[in-house]
Symmetry: C2
Subunit: 129 residues, 2 copies
């Protein structure tokens, strides 16, 4: 059973940009547009250990994303969730899968592959319109 309403799953299935909210160590929020994917149970994000976001989600493993429909920006889904795992992606394999979802082709792993990780997020609650 997912907390995602079936009326809005298309916003997770389409390669849209998710505005990912994290909380900085000092308690202030941060929001950045991110690629993501969704397998019906978890949301997945690629990032590197060198970014502020990595510091944020290791300090506070809770996130929220806001995604609106480019064709109708008043239609949106907010998903709040917990970072269940941070998986290693030093092969760049997940990055390349995600890049392909967004129409990007690479000849090999990205130059920063050694620092790549995957945030695996379990949705806990939503809001939508």
């Amino acid at each position: 059973m997912s907390v995602i309403p079936t009326s809005h799953t298309d916003l997770l299935e389409r390669p849209l940009f998710a505005h990912l909210g994290t909380v900085r160590p000092d308690g202030r929020p941060q929001v950045n547009p991110m690629w993501f994917s969704w397998d019906g149970e978890h949301l997945f994000f690629t990032n590197t250990k060198t970014r502020h976001k990595y510091r944020n989600v290791t300090a506070h493993p809770v996130v929220a994303v806001s995604i609106n429909d480019p064709k109708n920006p008043y239609r949106y889904l907010e998903v709040r969730g917990t970072v269940e795992r941070i998986d290693d992606d030093s092969s760049g394999a997940f990055f390349l899968t995600l890049a392909e979802r967004y129409g990007m082709q690479f000849d090999g792993p990205p130059p920063d592959a050694e620092h790549r990780v995957v945030y695996v997020v379990r949705p806990t609650s939503v809001s939508h319109q």
Copy 2:
């Protein structure tokens, strides 16, 4: 002097949607698409005292917004800032000004005008691409 880079001020001047990140009383983030306006010094948002966001910004008067360019979604501006004031808007006057910016016409104040407030946010730092 503003912290907003001149290369990205158009993203604040255009009636785009800002994905507003706030922090809930329990420390978890929340992100929602919002109308906003910008006067060169502050960002302004309309909300009501009945919403979760009001509870959030009164508990933690710090926010972040992510705005990307619909014509080029990889071009974005994140603004982090402090809620300097929460002004009364029980006349609905600010709401109506903001609605007009987004191409909406109303015959009078919105039905929830009595609960309307304005978040006045001073940018403190940015990230952009």
